[in-house]
Amino acid sequence: MLDKIGIAKRIAKEIKDGSYINLGIGIPTLVANYIPEKINVVLQSENGLLGIGPFPSEEQVDADLINAGKQTVSMTPGSALFSSAESFAMIRGGHVDLTILGAMEVSENGDLANWKIPGKMVKGMGGAMDLVASADNIIVAMQHTSRSGDSKLLKKCSLPITGLSCVKKIVTNMAVLDILPTGGFQLLERAPGVSVDDIKAATQGKLHVPDNVPEMTF
């Protein structure tokens, strides 16, 4: 089983040199810490910044420079600032190469639910619906099951949808899986100490299991 950092580390391996990436709040934000040094990427913040740098020092903290999670940040050399309309023009126009975000549920045809739980206070979708409707390449970071052991990789999402058929790849605490273009979860890798049977038991949606399912390496 992976912890949150493990999930972030595994996702970091998917990142290609020269990419522009939007990282959601939570585990996705952690991914930035594990991108190999030889790889150069530019992080996009939907509130209007390309080139998110590390958290600032105490002296550098600037209330006018935050990320989409409202955390104070710094800027990398070569960064650019812009409006929210321009930011979502970038996103909607397909200029961001990779979007990494969290999920509550994913269905076997790639539907994503991550914004609303009926009966609970609705905080809003923020930029998630724009991101998932627009990005060509979406990787989801999530727990494979709920605390009570119910699968979150489903035939059909039970929660309100954020976007249809948008997820390409999923990294959970148990496995790495692709969504097949024809539907279904294609199992690619097992987390250390997790068996194929564990994954089968934890996956409600249609799971394609190849003969050989390697353990993740980092």
């Binding site: 910044l49 006018d64 935050i66 104070t72 909607r92 609303k116 809003g124």
Partner: protein, 233 residues
């Protein structure tokens, strides 16, 4: 010469009437029109519809106007940091329209730009699509979304000049430029107000044509929601 410069926030917002539709710039508490919000609080105008990406926190930003029950309706993309907001919403005292953030930004941009409607893929197949026209373009489904306009837009900039030209700083730009263009009356508060000609025309974010009133703000608190720092390594 008609002078856009007004003395202070109270004068600038004086004619904002009950049930007015307002746009308020900012993302979280970053780049919000602090002075205009304080003046509205003092003036006590009620029944406001506030179009703003967020709803502030309990004791700052739009949260202040929620507490005094001056807000009838919020149009936002994310409203999660506010307990009083939650109470009013659950009690049915507050109307809330939640929109995808990019759709919100683009609808406001469309309002300023005279585009009554446009198609976006965001929200297709979700609750957001309910009651909306859909249409396929290039094999992908889209929603028809309409412009948003406001009676008054309240924006905050870093520098401004007497012609109403504005320059924002850092990520405090966010929704401010589109809102400046989408308000029938746009009221800009700035940290530094300079005479016309002092700002480099090539670096202006909001051309003065969009701004009807401008004043030099004061006592900016610029509260930080998540103060995250690197420990020296």
């Amino acid at each position: 010469m008609i002078d856009k410069v007004v003395d202070n926030a109270a004068t600038a917002i004086k004619d904002i009437h009950e049930n007015a539709v307002l746009m308020l710039g900012g993302f979280g508490l970053c780049g919000i029109p602090e002075n205009s919000i304080q003046a509205l609080l003092k003036q006590g105008t009620k029944g406001l519809t506030c179009i703003s990406n967020n709803a502030g926190v309990d004791d700052f930003g739009i949260g202040l106007l929620l507490k005094t029950r001056q807000v009838k309706k919020m149009i936002s993309s994310y409203v999660g940091e506010n307990a009083e907001f939650e109470r009013q919403l659950l009690a049915g005292e507050l109307e809330v329209d939640l929109l995808p953030q990019g759709t919100l930004a683009e609808r406001i941009r469309a309002g300023g730009a005279g585009i009554p409607a446009f198609y976006t893929p965001a929200g297709y197949g979700t609750e957001v699509a309910e009651g909306k026209e859909t249409r396929e373009f290039n094999g992908k489904m889209h929603l028809l979304e309409s412009w948003l306009l406001a009676d008054y837009s309240l924006v905050k900039a870093w520098k401004g000049d007497t012609e109403g030209n504005l320059i924002y700083k850092g990520t405090a730009r966010n929704f401010n430029p589109m809102m400046a263009a989408a308000g029938k009356i746009t009221i800009a508060e700035v940290e530094e107000l300079v005479p016309a000609g002092e700002l480099d025309p090539n670096t202006i974010h909001t051309p003065g044509i969009y701004v009807q009133r401008i004043f030099q703000g004061k006592a900016y608190e610029k509260r930080i929601e998540q103060r995250t720092v690197s420990s020296p390594s």
